[in-house]
């Protein structure tokens, strides 16, 4: 047993640094998952927390995927919830139609996730082609606009299904002209209800790990370097022949597809999916997770998403003040990170600064 552990340890050390940190992150997720599962089995977990387990997963997936756009690509997107919305509706739509056709839940749900991701990714490509030519503030406002358009359109959309196929309308159920026995699936503002509740904590954790791996592997590859080069200096990136548009769209659409995955997980966890849940406020909420966890820091995003999903439910006083506290956190974080006075203070009081000062003092004394 001991020999085995030593062998494992030396194997882990052999891996390069980024791989090692990934193994640790995934290990921590798996351990946390095991603890949660054994608590549920032993009946030690409150209903409140049990109900939040899947939510933690989809919010974490949302945060990690938004971090790809904001932290790694360096473009502010304020419409990330829009992609979640597309994933949620597409996945739920598929599951409701196929519930009688594909009996195996695992196969059906996997397909729903893939289709939801593909649709959200497709929208990511389309929207990316349109908006990624813009920079900075303009991009932020246009992503916000797209998020709102998606929300508004789904809010008036009616889709029904009968033996003749799928019918669309933007007016009401009656104008779908369904045959007898036809089924209305998307009911405008009422959204989709009765989606099979296939989302479980286990599936959520698996999807979270997969999302994390996709993004981490992307970052540590040729394409990831190109994406970060664009973030750091797009003029220099162009000068060494990196196709800026291509990699911006790549990062943006992968981010969108993963948000779609979170959406499918969401819609199969809840009785009714309504498009109004995916407005600008949700996008900002996810952005808060990313900023709080640290831009470009994937582990930070996961931790922030989980903590900020659980804490408000536990601290009752926080419920009323939740958004207020988030707002203050955003402002304080930004000032702490960027204000010249704070930057100097941090330099002076950080461990590195402390050691540097010691060394300097010692050198002086010796002289």
């Amino acid at each position: 047993m001991k020999a085995q552990l030593v062998k494992m340890k030396s194997q882990v050390q052999k891996l390069n640094r980024s791989t090692r940190s990934n193994v640790i992150t995934i290990g921590v997720i798996v351990i946390a998952y095991t603890i949660c599962m054994s608590m549920i089995k032993a009946g030690n977990m409150s209903n409140l927390l049990q109900n939040l387990l899947v939510a933690m997963c989809y919010y974490a997936i949302m945060a990690v995927s938004l971090n790809l756009t904001v932290g790694i690509l360096g473009q502010l997107s304020l419409g990330h919830a829009g992609f979640m919305c597309i994933g949620a509706f597409t996945g739920a739509f598929f599951s409701k139609i196929m519930v009688g056709t594909i009996d195996n839940v695992l196969i059906r749900f996997t397909l729903a996730i893939l289709i939801g991701a593909a649709m959200a990714g497709l929208f990511g490509v389309l929207i990316g082609i349109v908006v990624l030519r813009l920079r900075g503030d303009y991009l932020a406002i246009v992503t916000l606009a797209f998020g709102e358009i998606i929300k508004n359109v789904l809010n008036v959309l009616y889709i029904g299904y009968d033996s003749r196929g799928i019918h669309f309308s933007v007016n009401d159920t009656a104008s779908l002209n369904l045959e007898e026995g036809g089924m209305v699936i998307i009911k405008g503002a009422q959204g989709i209800s009765g989606t099979p509740r296939n989302s479980t904590f286990t599936i959520g954790v698996i999807l979270l790990i997969l999302t994390y791996l996709v993004i981490v592997n992307l970052i540590n590859s040729r394409s990831g370097r190109a994406i970060m080069a664009i973030r750091d200096n797009h003029i220099a990136a162009e000068s060494i022949g990196i196709d800026i548009t291509k990699y911006k769209i790549l990062a943006f659409s992968i981010s969108a597809a993963l948000a779609g995955v979170a959406g499918v997980l969401y819609s199969h966890n809840i009785a009714t999916v309504q498009s109004t849940k995916f407005g600008y406020n949700t996008s900002i909420l996810i952005l808060v997770f990313v900023v709080l966890g640290g831009m470009g820091n994937l582990r930070g995003s996961i931790i922030a998403a989980i903590l900020l999903t659980v804490l408000p439910e536990y601290l009752r006083f926080m419920r009323d003040y939740r958004m207020l506290i988030y707002a203050i956190v955003l402002i304080v974080m930004m000032i702490f990170n960027w204000a010249p006075a704070c930057v100097n203070w941090r330099k002076k009081h950080s461990l590195k600064g402390f050691i540097d000062n010691k060394i300097r003092k010692k050198a002086k004394e010796e002289a």
Binding site: N217, S223, D232
Partner: protein
């Protein structure tokens, strides 16, 4: 053999003729200097050559091929790489990754094999690492490979920029004030490196410099630009003794 042939290019910004009828021919393997007082339009010439600006008139040929009006990316792929006057490194990436970005178009594997860690990922990454370390060694940066590029001292940041440009495997290398901000001994060392790079990588070099002595020491030919027009062009000793050039630099 002609490496770069520029015929009468020019550009104006809102009525100001920044560069006017600029022509130059650089032969393969030459080390050419582009000098001139502040605001003479030197960097604008670089921006025209690399497609950052599109010329209003004239044509640019690289090894006989017309590259006028191509995008920056296409021009780099055609074989021109550059450095910048104000350093433009990828600050939040390691020294090694900066050079590996330069190798981007020389060694390819798909994004999918990167995400799924397919064999081509491991194979190509290994080659890229070897290549990058080899280039870093030339610039004596291999020991700092894992360091964040923004943590390098100034002189080394300039060298890293050259290394990154070189990694794209260019035929023509444009260096914009490579010795700016360096002390005399650093400059001396850089000049040796530039000579070495030319031999080892078989590149033609066009460089902008302010320090005339320094340019005279390394360049085989010099082009003097003033207010966007040619003042002199030729061998260093001829150019630097030209009364017009002396007048432009020292005044009347």
């Amino acid at each position: 053999m002609e490496m770069l042939s520029v015929k009468n290019i020019g550009i104006s910004f809102g009525g100001l003729q920044a560069v006017d009828s600029f022509s130059i021919t650089i032969n393969k393997g030459e080390l050419y200097g582009l000098i001139g007082p502040n605001g003479a339009g030197k960097t604008t010439v670089f921006n025209l050559l690399t497609g950052v600006y599109k010329p209003d008139m004239g044509q640019i040929f690289l090894e006989g091929e017309n590259i006028t009006g191509l995008s920056t990316i296409e021009i780099n792929k055609a074989g021109i790489a550059r450095t910048f006057q104000n350093i433009r490194l990828f600050k939040n990436m390691s020294v090694l990754d900066n050079v590996k970005c330069g190798l981007h178009n020389n060694y390819k594997y798909s994004s999918a094999s990167g995400i799924l860690r397919l064999p081509s990922y491991f194979k190509t990454e290994r080659i890229m690492n070897e290549q990058a370390y080899e280039i870093l060694k030339v610039f004596d940066l291999d020991k700092e490979a894992k360091l964040l590029s923004s943590n390098l001292p100034y002189g080394k940041q300039r060298k890293l920029e050259i290394a990154r440009a070189l990694a794209t495997n260019p035929k023509l290398l444009l260096l914009d004030e490579p010795a700016a901000g360096m002390n005399p001994s650093e400059t001396e060392e850089l000049m040796d490196t530039i000579r070495l790079v030319r031999e080892k990588y078989d590149v033609t070099i066009l460089l902008i410099e302010h320090d005339m002595k320094l340019v005279a020491g390394i360049c085989e030919k010099i082009f003097v630009l003033n207010f966007g027009v040619k003042l002199a062009n030729g061998l260093p000793q001829d150019v630097l003794n030209d009364p017009e050039v002396i007048k432009a630099y020292l005044g009347e």
